[in-house]
């Protein structure tokens, strides 16, 4: 019944929806705010999150404490509130000095950034989303690291590998098997959360642009449909990417990747 309504009710106006999808501001919003926003904030989130997880599991109480406070702070604040607050930081600190702490009187300032000019820049929004994401990623990465058998660390140590090498070359690659699926989830959630960038008055973003066309033309529903379709497309692509990644990090565990299987049979055939 829903399908038939969708196909026959002229108010759906699929043709207009498709047109909206291809409008230049919509495309620009899609690429800049939504796609770039997702990629950028996830890079910050995953990178910082893994570092936070390693710190949290470190023997050093200071590092552990910093990581705990970070996670506690950013997990407690709703993203929308965080972005809105960050957007208003310019009110408190109009100019950001880069230099030695407490070194202004001695002239030890290397440069200045105007926060007001920055606050509606996309980069600042991406930073905000990334910082928030890192708090969640830290917990995911921590679970992944803890899932790796302790014998792996011991084997690497017995070979003379330093703690850093042991972590990055032996433990993290195995932890990725556990980290990737929830990270895929987080990425897909992030695609949708880029629509929150509006809180910092960033308007080059998919949903704001489609909505703007909708209100301007009074064709609100088709405009929303256009946004829905784009989100569906992006998330479908992401899911394919995720399953590829899972296969890569799953190598050596249970199911053998196709390529390796081919290599193996070739080697056996050669012998």
């Amino acid at each position: 019944m829903m399908i038939s309504s969708a196909l026959t009710n002229p108010r759906w106006d699929w043709k207009f929806a498709l047109e909206v999808m291809q409008q230049k501001p919509v495309l620009e919003g899609l690429v800049k705010g939504t796609l770039l926003g997702t990629v950028g904030s996830m890079i910050i989130g995953v990178g910082l999150g893994v570092i936070m997880a390693v710190m949290r599991l470190s023997a050093n109480p200071v590092l552990r404490g910093v990581s705990f406070v970070y996670t506690w702070f950013f997990r407690s604040i709703p993203r929308y509130v965080l972005l809105a607050t960050m957007g208003s930081l310019g009110y408190l600190y109009p100019v950001l000095d880069i230099g030695v702490p407490f070194g202004q009187p001695a002239g030890l300032t290397f440069g200045q950034i105007g926060i007001n000019a920055l606050s509606n820049m996309l980069a600042f929004g991406i930073l905000g989303l990334g910082l928030s994401e890192a708090a969640y990623m830290a917990e995911i990465a921590r679970a992944g690291i803890l899932s790796v058998d302790r014998g792996q660390t011991e084997a690497a140590q017995a070979l003379g590998m330093s703690p850093g090498k042991t972590m990055w070359r032996i433990v993290i690659p195995q932890a990725m098997r556990v980290i990737v699926p929830p990270t895929g989830n987080e990425t897909i959630a992030m695609v949708k959360d880029t629509s929150l960038l509006l809180a910092m008055s960033i308007t080059t973003e998919l949903f704001f642009q489609t909505q703007a066309i909708g209100t301007r033309t009074l064709q609100i529903m088709p405009a929303y449909v256009a946004a829905v379709l784009w989100y569906l497309v992006i998330c479908s692509v992401l899911m394919v990417g995720q399953s590829r990644l899972e296969r890569y990090y799953g190598r050596g565990f249970g199911a053998v990747p196709k390529k390796t299987q081919q290599k193996l049979t070739k080697i056996e055939a050669d012998h």
Partner: protein, 314 residues
Amino acid sequence: MADTTATAPTTDAVPLVHAINVTKAFHGNEVLKGIDMDVRRGEVVVLLGPSGSGKTTFLRCINQLETIDGGRIWVDGDLMGYEDRGGTLHHLTDKQIAAQRREIGMCFQRFNLFPHKTVLENVVEAPVQVKGVKKAEARTRALQLLEQVGLGDKPSAYPSQLSGGQQQRVAIARALAMDPKLMLFDEPTSALDPELVGEVLKVMRDLAEGGMTMIVVTHEMGFAREVADRVVFMDAGVVVEEGPPANVIDNPQHARTRSFLSRMRQEEAAHAEAIVATVTENAEALAAIAKADAEAEMAAQAAIDNARDATQQR
């Protein structure tokens, strides 16, 4: 390294491993109560003892996988884990400890191969990452070592595709790739199916014959008797007795050694008995089947004869 040479000069006359009064406790439970042990270059020492006797812990103390609470251990003149600065001991940094471990190979009960790397990558990893050996060079050496442990045909397999015995042999090759002075084996065959034990012991025997210094924790009496230069029997955190295998295994002086060895023999005998019982059972079952077959055949033959007689009578 600081002046550890004063207490342990590095000449051939001096043991490769020199441990004095090593103590270790886990949560107040004393596992090692003052172990003294010397291992000469090229010597194969087997540590025997009931579980919980501290032999595995002592092995792990040698390469600092466990920190010791008291005493000192030198390997090739290096004081393990500490630096002696004018009589007081200072902890080495993690990096310095890592450097000390490079010269000591270790094989674990559960192999601990890196599951996300192929056999070849497992062997190449440490030389390239730790010693900075060139990749091509490390590869050639790795293939050589894999050949040596009888796995020259499996460089691209993942550990999960190998049997336990094969995995343990890869683990031995991985340790050898660092050109260690000393090899530690922590119950290398106790996680293996009985039919896979032999292949691993053979590799270890070859290694011993090649002159490698080895400390082996194992319950394999046959290996201890044939390969070990010296057997050390430990119980409850102390060395009870030590000496050539012929003395310790076949003519133990201490009651504790005797009771452990007789228990081991009983277990071995029980194992053998179980095998004999299974074989006998199988043989009996086969005989029963054969007998039933023969009876059936005779019955059939009789029936045929009867039928023939009947036709002839007609």
